[in-house]
């Protein structure tokens, strides 16, 4: 099939970007969206232009590296997949496809469609872990965890940190990402000792990065390639309120 592409081109963080139109012919419906971009880049290089920079790595939907706003929807029109797992059979001959980077102050553009998502790492660094140094763990089966609880924790832990939630949110909020990690750990017995400190520290870090607040619109959940539930946001809210009453989160 033949496509019209409108792709965001921006040389670097400082420069002004713009949408540039390209025509791409003979795209097979079997291509993944990123293979379609590979094809575009080969064409651009043949024509002496610079290829479009875009992040990608595993191309099987788990590393969270790829992230594109495709026709106004994070990761494109198919629910519950990343851009690399989106196949061109979801488009039609003659379609115009607008491709933009994630847009958020906390995710500054590096080049073209590549953004800097280290803000997410800093949220995890704030307290998104269980403090257990190597070697200090007890026998694994000492603490039973109900299957339903473990499954729920796994639902939250499935987050790949791609940033689609922020990209899709009208407020550019990182609540779904933050809540997924906080809930994963809060749902497990191992995570209890630091549970309320974690809630306070992660929410503080999230706010400091310049993300917006959550207004419970739910676009994040709808575009999340791992279908992380809004329930985890409620869980984080609950933990933060309780943590505030406890005065948790003080660290030396």
């Amino acid at each position: 099939m033949n496509l019209k592409l409108r792709v965001w081109r921006q040389k670097n963080a400082e420069s002004q970007g713009r949408l540039v139109d390209y025509e791409l012919k003979d795209v097979s419906p079997e291509y993944s969206f990123l293979e379609m971009l590979d094809l575009l880049n080969e064409k651009l290089m043949r024509e002496g232009e610079l290829p479009v920079a875009f992040d990608h790595d595993c191309r099987e939907g788990i590393c969270g590296m790829c992230g594109l706003m495709i026709n106004g929807v994070a990761h494109g029109p198919k629910a519950a997949v990343t851009a690399c797992q989106l196949h061109m059979r979801n488009f039609h001959d003659g379609d115009t496809i607008v491709i933009e980077p994630w847009r958020a102050t906390a995710f500054p553009i590096i080049k073209d469609l590549v953004v800097n998502r280290t803000a997410f790492d800093r949220i995890i660094q704030a307290a998104g872990y269980i403090s257990v140094s190597t070697g200090s763990a007890p026998e694994a089966n000492n603490t039973p965890i109900a299957k339903t609880e473990a499954d729920l924790a796994m639902d939250a832990a499935a987050c790949i940190g791609c940033g689609a939630c922020v990209a899709a949110c009208p407020n550019s909020s990182a609540m779904l990402f933050t809540a997924a990690k906080a809930s994963h750990l809060a749902l497990m017995p191992q995570g209890q000792p630091e549970r309320y400190d974690r809630a306070v520290l992660m929410v503080n870090a999230m706010d400091e990065e310049g993300f917006g607040g959550c207004t419970n619109i739910g676009e994040c959940e709808a575009v999340c390639p791992k279908e992380i539930s809004l329930d985890f946001i409620a869980q984080l809210n609950r933990d933060l309120i309780k943590a505030s009453f406890m005065g948790a989160g003080k660290r030396l």
Partner: protein, 654 residues
């Protein structure tokens, strides 16, 4: 080979076929590691922060090592090419991680895990390392559970297990089909904690482009900041590399697009020996290639073989739909040929069997390039919900890629390049032949012999990173007195200059062929002549084709853009240039090893049944290749393999 990179001329000991000492401690294998740990020197806690350790790679091995070093008090710098350490390709491991917990009371033990791994590796691994791996396996599970890894549970709240290829016990721990992701997040969170506390300085989007050796010791690396293009030296007391495998030399593999061999190849050129490069693993359950354009292959976890039955039509060239083929005309070739292991034979055996039936005309799918993996029986027996609970995400992934619903029609699968058992040679301490350079995880060659069993890679990466390297690296630091060196040292200056020159050289080729195109061509040569079946004639042919292609690359590759900017083509080109050299070494090793073992199948060496036939008399050794200059042939060093605990037998899974 003037077309290759310019490297300073180094003097090296030029001994032929020298015997390598793996520094395996004395004594009974059960006590070896404990005894060794006791005998190792320790570093005073107050002195640890004065020592800097560089960790290249942030996957299971690198991430866990960096975090563990920092917990001990060392000053750690960790590098990864991704934008976050959480994205290292360990994230994609699906099936699980082995441990000898024997929670299922089915007869497992440390010794059995050790035995299975040595046997699964077709008796080409070092016994002492494998035994230690089996011992540590249990601690890994404890550590990961304590970190909050949400492993699958039974209703009673205890950890669940499943079985995996190459074993008759259920010893695999798993977190749905995302075990690698969850284990990596555990290591990443431990790393994040150390970054926050200042113990680790993380350098994402930074690529290691050279190793710096001063006075015979690894003292640092030269990196390129992938955003600004800045070339920079980093000095340390120890360099730890955990940069993964080199499957992407085949272009199409299950590895991430960015996975590369540049770090280990640069280390090889600085004096680290490269062991068993020809041991590559072809994974039996991947989605078949669907066309020329394809950029990568997607793995379907081997755990699917627990419940799926593999078959092809008995009749060659059968074009009927799977559902229309009656039971009597289905050839369940693994179940028939290997009645005791059935669909759970090791990866190399399953892969070759698939190749055989496809080559002989039984292939299924439009391109006749796959075999069926059928869940109909399991769905009938257990119900769709149970199957969905076990494999839901894999089924969704399959449906996404192929447009077919695996709950209704059988999956189509075919083997693909997945893992490389070969890597930099390391001794028992995981130290390479360059003192101060330690190599962990898939990047080293150590534990899997000629074939890795499923769910063992995660185990090895974490064993190396959490438990082995922290002990052995400390021992090295305690025993070694290093001169004070900074980035102005001539060795660093020279390495930086070489890196800059190489980058400029790539940008100045200004040819006409895209880097991907050349990489694809290399992949085709590798798959054709050095894939699942290898012959002397084919390998010799590959050894002619690869240097010619390398020449073509340096004459005619098209690499637009600048050096001081995010330039993904430039990154790719540097990696492909290294693959074009590594591919040659791989074929050379495959040619030299005129036996079949594990993933290395020389067609000249097979049993009457077409199984891999080892030649223990002549090849029971580790082949460790030593770089001797761009224009010289590499030197083969050998580490003889002794088997004191496992009896060498022809593997049989019948």
């Amino acid at each position: 080979m003037a077309t290759s990179t310019s490297t300073s001329v180094k003097t090296m000991p030029t001994f032929m076929e020298a015997t390598l000492d793996a520094h395996v401690p004395d004594g009974p294998i059960e006590e070896m590691w404990d005894k060794h740990k006791f005998e190792m020197k320790l570093v005073n806690p107050a002195n640890k922060r004065k020592h800097t350790i560089i960790v290249v790679g942030s996957g299971l091995a690198g991430g866990s090592a960096a975090a563990s070093f920092a917990e001990l008090g060392y000053n750690v710098h960790c590098f990864c090419y991704q934008d976050s350490p959480r994205r290292a390709h360990s994230v994609a491991a699906q099936g699980g991680i082995n441990a000898a917990k024997n929670y299922q009371n089915d007869g497992d033990s440390v010794f059995r895990l050790f035995y299975d791994t040595v046997k699964g590796g077709d008796y080409r691994a070092r016994e002492a390392n494998v035994y230690r791996l089996a011992q540590i396996s249990n601690q890994i599970i404890d550590q990961c559970v304590a970190q909050g890894v949400p492993f699958a549970r039974e209703y009673g709240g205890r950890l669940a297990n499943r079985s995996f290829g190459g074993a008759q016990v259920s010893r695999t721990f798993y977190a749905r089909g995302q075990t690698g992701q969850q284990l990596l997040l555990g290591a990443y969170q431990a790393l994040a904690r150390q970054i926050e506390s200042g113990g680790v300085k993380m350098h994402p989007r930074t690529e290691m482009l050279d190793l710096v050796v001063v006075d015979g010791h690894a003292r640092g690396i030269v990196t390129r900041d992938m955003v600004t293009g800045k070339i920079e030296s980093h000095v340390a007391d120890v360099v730890v590399m955990a940069t993964g495998g080199y499957s992407n030399v085949f272009y199409l593999s299950t590895n991430a697009k960015g996975c590369n061999a540049t770090a280990i190849w640069r280390a090889y050129k600085r004096g680290a020996f490269f062991a068993n490069p020809c041991y590559t693993q072809i994974h039996p359950t991947c989605i078949p290639v669907s066309g020329e354009y394809q950029s990568k292959l997607t793995l379907m976890s081997e755990s699917l073989r627990n419940d799926g039955r593999i078959w092809v039509p008995r009749q060659k060239g059968d074009t009927r739909k799977a559902a229309d083929i009656p039971e009597s005309e289905r050839y369940y070739y693994l179940e028939e040929r290997y009645p005791s292991f059935g669909n759970l034979v090791p990866r190399d055996v399953a892969s070759r069997a698939a190749k055989e039936v496809v080559d002989s005309g039984h292939g299924v799918g439009e391109l006749k390039n796959g075999v069926y993996l059928d869940f109909a029986d399991a769905i009938n027996r257990l119900g769709e919900n149970v199957i969905r609970d076990r494999y839901g995400n894999l089924f969704d992934m399959y449906a996404n890629i192929t447009g077919e619903d695996p709950y209704k029609v059988p999956m189509r699968i075919y083997p693909a390049l997945h893992y490389t058992m070969g890597g930099l040679w390391v001794d028992y301490n995981l130290q390479s032949t360059v003192p101060g350079l330690f190599v962990l995880g898939e990047a080293n060659f150590s534990d899997h012999g000629a074939n890795r069993l499923g769910a063992s890679a995660l185990m090895q990466g974490l064993s190396d990173g959490y438990f082995i390297a922290p002990a052995t690296v400390s021992n090295y630091i305690a025993q070694t007195s290093l001169s004070k060196v900074d980035a102005s040292h001539s060795a660093f200056q020279q390495a930086e200059e070489e890196v800059v020159n190489r980058v400029n050289r790539l940008l100045n080729i200004r040819g006409r062929r895209s880097v991907d195109e050349i990489h694809r061509e290399l992949g085709k040569i590798m798959w054709e002549y050095c894939g699942m079946g290898r012959t002397e004639a084919g390998l010799k042919k590959a050894l002619e084709l690869i240097p010619a292609l390398r020449e073509e690359f340096w004459q005619n590759a098209s690499i637009p853009g600048d050096a001081d900017d995010l330039n993904q083509t430039l990154e790719k080109a540097g990696r492909v240039a290294d693959f074009l050299e590594l591919g040659e070494l791989l074929c050379r090793d495959a040619l030299d090893r005129a036996e079949s073992c594990g993933g290395h199948f020389r067609e000249e060496s097979q049993t009457e049944d077409g199984e891999a036939l080892r030649d223990d008399e002549n090849f029971a050794y580790v082949a460790a290749w030593q770089y001797a200059g761009d224009d010289a042939e590499p030197i083969l060093n050998k580490e003889p393999l002794k088997f004191d605990y496992v009896k060498l037998t022809q593997r049989s899974y019948k």
